[in-house]
């Protein structure tokens, strides 16, 4: 190499020594944190102590729980095999409790109304707009 070319190489790499790490750092800092949907999927809460009723099937186990003073009810949904619908909403009467999806444990706490002495729950397929199942206790 001739001297001007050697000098140009060195100048270029001095520039790259600043630009490359800065670019990598900037790109890394710009990585977006994944958005979490908290609208219909609250964190699974702890199970309430009293078990009022329970239903077991190969697809799921559904338990109706209550606090010791029965002021709060809780629907515990354990999905054992995936639902036919990719995502479904669960209603207590006409009240939206939340969303159930892939395998896992879902618990939805709610305050019982006068109609909730024998509450019924509806599983609704939000994509196909139809009721999947109705559960009566």
């Amino acid at each position: 190499m001739i001297k001007p070319l050697r000098k140009r190489h060195l100048q270029l790499w001095l520039g790259l020594a600043v630009v490359l790490p800065a670019s990598i750092l900037a790109g890394w800092l710009a990585v977006p944190t994944p958005a979490t949907d908290t609208l219909l999927q609250p964190a699974t809460s702890a199970p309430l102590p009293l078990i009022l009723a329970s239903r077991d099937s190969p697809a799921q186990t559904i338990t109706l729980r209550a606090s010791t003073d029965t002021a709060t009810l809780q629907l515990e949904w354990v999905t054992k095999s995936e639902l036919a619908a990719p995502s479904a909403l669960i209603y207590a009467g006409e009240r939206l409790l939340g969303r159930i999806g892939p395998q896992g444990v879902y618990r939805f706490s709610f305050t019982p109304g006068c109609k909730d002495i024998h509450p019924s729950f509806t599983i609704y397929d939000i994509i196909h707009h139809k009721n999947i199942e109705k559960i009566n206790f």
């Binding site: 001297k3 270029l12 020594a17 790490p21 670019s23 710009a30």
Partner: protein, 360 residues
Amino acid sequence: MGISYQAVGWNRQKRRYDTILLGFCIAYIGTFVGLSLVFNREMTFETLLIRSTSTLALLLLHVILSIGPLCRLDNRFLPLLYNRRHLGVTMFTIAAIHGGFSIFQFHGLGNVNPLLSLFLSNTRYDSLSAFPFQALGFFALLIFLLMAVTSHDFWLHMLSPRTWKTLHMAVYAAYLLVILHVVLGVIQYETNPVFILILFGGTSILITLHLLAGYREVRKDNLHFPEAPNASPQFPEAQKRLVQVCAVSDIAPDRAKVFCIDKERIAVFRSGDILHAIHNVCKHQNGPLGEGKVIDGCITCPWHGYQYLPKNGQSPPPFTEKVSTYDVEVIDGMVWLDPKPYPEGTERPGAPVNQQQNKA
């Protein structure tokens, strides 16, 4: 070495090198596909191809860019330099497969021209995390294409070594574009820190190698050599400016030592029992002749094997390349050099290594 086009001559060494290179590429892609299928069976063929070729091209690009400084730091790497253009064309081919499949997969199946779609499907040029990174890869590929098609010596002669070298230095711009393409692309959604650590490691190694080699060359260029006093009785030819560069014993048989005097590098070769001095820069691609050796009586460039006769700096017939020659003398076991160049191809007698007996 004329300007007429001549097909690439594959000698035994090049064939061996290319076979190893091809074997490595196949083994890499095979391993990548195998491991991907073990850990993620749902990956499609297109995704596998796009990912395996992208990582392979990036790896080869790092190897290519490290060859130059490695050779400057240790001449055992010189055989890699001899075949660097093959590596470059291979890297471009693999990058082109990656680019072609990516354009087909992400832009080829709609009703918009794929190249238009590449630039118009995402116009968030004001965002880092959503930047249209594919456009960066496209421009890098364009530079690699230009380099690959002009890699033959025909273009070197057509464009002149200076223009050709300037054009090929665009590889550094392409490298920056590739790094941005990766950082603003895959790194934004494959958030495993291993990927960014590998990328950072690769660029750090390259930066370190280039800066080390660059500063070493600066030190070589800034060495000062003692000059003979004008009135010295040892130098009756007073108009000559002689510079003492080293001891005769410092120069190994059929090898050279290089000295930078008045901003020019001069290689002093020991060919048999005679010292010859020629300009250090090969006419082919500005290779460092002084790092080569004398083979079959000819000074042979370590980069691509171009040859020059030590006595006159001319390539042996039918070749026509010529470099400048210099006067060299041996006095009391020390080598003295006149840094004034003779016109390219001028024959000079050189200096017998035992010349001190004549001068004493």
